[in-house]
Symmetry: C2
Subunit: 391 residues, 2 copies
């Protein structure tokens, strides 16, 4: 029996798989291990063409084409299924202490309702994740995760140190509402009070009698919100309400856009930052408060690293020439034949009409304007280190 | 510019994506975050058609068709790129203590050169992974992982308890050699000494002057070995030597086979067992030695759970009718309209000519011969609980 799955036919029909930023693409075997999201039926119905796996869960990446998705995100409003931003919930008397043991950022003066971008760092000073920390109450915190099982790190510390804290992954599935019309759409569904949520703060909305946290945040620089949908069974009604209310705003399904996030300098843990990097290499020194964060397990290591200073660091790089192929492996950068660093994310930017890229660049070569040669799979390209991202 | 990538053309040409056990398939966006393996150029050249993501890394799943791969595995020998079985290395005076804190299985009398299948369990008694533990020396252990970042758990305990141990992920990429002709192939490449490695023990081989650990193990019941290739740059020569030496044995690239591993009762962490399950529910009670494993962090919890006994447990289930669709979400099982459990893995078995499945079945319904009704996406099927897997 040979049945060609409908989605596959559609992909062939549109000839779009080729369009994923010039990538070669692989077909993914479905399995329970790579979890569906509460919104996935809707995501498929919306015509998702390319997906990723993030925290053992499906994440939609591309619907129309990389460029159409990019233009639409910058001009309208999109609903993103980012259920894969799993929450690690800490509850109990030692919740704050545990949070502080995991990050060099000072969390002791957080307000309830505040979000903080916190590098999660091990005792040796290496990055384990770069989540957003939400303070729900004096004894309850959520880490909203990048792609690693930070839950296991929290469980390990709690067990190893005998802390009085419960650590779990609640049934919370974030939905991003991103783009310049995000506020308008959100206010239509949840009321004008959503405008009273400041950037990187969160509040609560009621929908069908269920309370969901809503933060002013998201993995784009186009403005927007994240709805922490409480309970998988409550996901589809929220999705449908947003799509219905936003019809005249041109709302559609989307996902984190590769070109847009590179332009904006939004780092991807696992690509641009890994467990091989310190927060200083990741350009996150401003979030390392070793003075006040005395309980942070990597404090000694970071104090030592701070005195030495980083030998390489994240930089924005523009790569000359036509659209680059998929950056599915690190690309070596040289300057005058000497190793100068590694490119970890790169794609064509429709707005800036160049290849925008993120790299970990050695100190001798990281000054703005430094010319590099990048070794791509299909040949070498010249490139330039920039002083800032495209913002 | 629209360029259809070669692999996509090939998939269309053969019309095989449909063949993935009746699955609907998604196209995966390449990114550095989902790591390539040292063997991946060879894997692509060998014609991989379907992949998965495991421990943030690519894993080949299917080359010819599910059935052809299955027949070949049972009759010949395959080389599997299982680089995604990442190693968590514990080194130092507290290495054994840390290993013991992570599992209820007694590791105190392991020999160097021994492998143990160890449930990794948190302090509340829930499964975090089901790795194989290798003892390299009195002060060095490797966990060879299933799909979760157990590295972060080990780092957390080490940091929280202040242990004198170094925890890292070495540059080791396992290569499976599986099938009835695995011994013949391995001996041709590495010499007859490989036959002296007993089941679930490991030794070392030299290849091109590099020392690699080799264990008699693997994620199939067809017999075989795993080569812990030391150093990414040393991967391709080992791959090529195996392919060259095994030409007349019909060697080819393969990967864990869904039907074969279900028949054999090989559980998949993330599908059949999750962080919601205790080792007793996972059917792993024989590996829980709470008497001797006094340092294990979940000892109190497991002692309580043992006195209660599990209320649900892993069972083999056969599902009636034609080939089932892809089991990409849990399927509810009922008996006399009452909830009876959940099916987590299922596919057609060519040899046993039935749909073989794994489920977490409630105690009232887990006796062999119990008839169930399974709710599939395309309708209900009758099914039977079995007393054992197909071995």
């Amino acid at each position: 029996m040979t049945v060609v799955p409908p989605k596959f036919v559609r992909l062939i029909g549109k000839g779009r798989a080729s369009d994923v930023g010039g990538m070669t693409s692989s077909v993914l075997a479905p399995t329970i291990r790579l979890r569906r999201t509460p919104f996935w039926d809707r995501v498929e119905r919306a015509g998702v063409q390319v997906v990723s796996i993030y925290n053992h869960m499906l994440m939609p990446c591309m619907f129309e084409s990389p460029e159409e998705d990019y233009r639409h995100l910058k001009g309208h409003v999109q609903v993103w299924d980012v259920s894969c931003e799993r929450q690690v919930r800490l509850r109990g008397p030692d919740a704050q202490r545990l949070a502080q043991m995991m990050t060099p950022r000072w969390v002791g003066d957080m307000d309830a309702g505040q979000c903080l971008y916190v590098p999660a760092v091990d005792r040796n000073g290496f990055m384990l994740n770069d989540p957003v920390l939400l303070k729900l109450a004096a004894d309850q915190f959520w880490f909203s995760l990048a792609d690693s099982d930070l839950l296991l790190y929290a469980l390990g510390i709690a067990g190893g140190a005998g802390l009085d804290v419960e650590v779990d992954e609640p049934d919370i599935s974030p939905l991003g509402v991103q783009g310049p019309k995000a506020g308008e759409l959100m206010s239509r569904v949840f009321g004008h009070e959503i405008y009273r949520i400041p950037f990187f703060r969160f509040g609560f909305v009621q929908f069908n009698g269920i309370r969901h946290a809503v933060s002013r945040s998201g993995f784009s620089k186009q403005g927007g919100f994240e709805i922490y949908v409480d309970g998988a069974e409550n996901g589809v009604p929220v999705w449908d309400a947003l799509m219905e209310a936003g019809r005249d705003l041109g709302v559609r399904a989307g996902g984190p856009n590769y070109a847009e996030r590179i332009e904006a300098g939004l780092l991807s843990y696992g690509s641009d930052i890994t467990r091989e990097n310190t927060p200083h290499e990741a350009g996150l020194s401003r979030f390392c408060d070793t003075e006040r964060s005395k309980e942070f397990l990597g404090r000694e290591s970071l104090l030592r690293l701070e005195s030495e200073g980083p030998k390489r660091q994240i930089r924005c790089v523009s790569i000359d020439g036509d659209k680059v192929p998929a950056c599915d492996r690190p690309w070596r950068a040289t300057a005058g034949r000497r190793f100068a660093g590694t490119i970890t994310s790169a794609t064509w930017s429709p707005d800036f009409e160049t290849n925008v890229a993120i790299g970990m660049i050695e100190a001798e070569h990281w000054d703005p304007g430094t010319r590099l040669v990048i070794e791509l799979p299909d040949g070498s390209r010249t490139a330039t280190v920039r002083g800032n991202f495209y913002i």
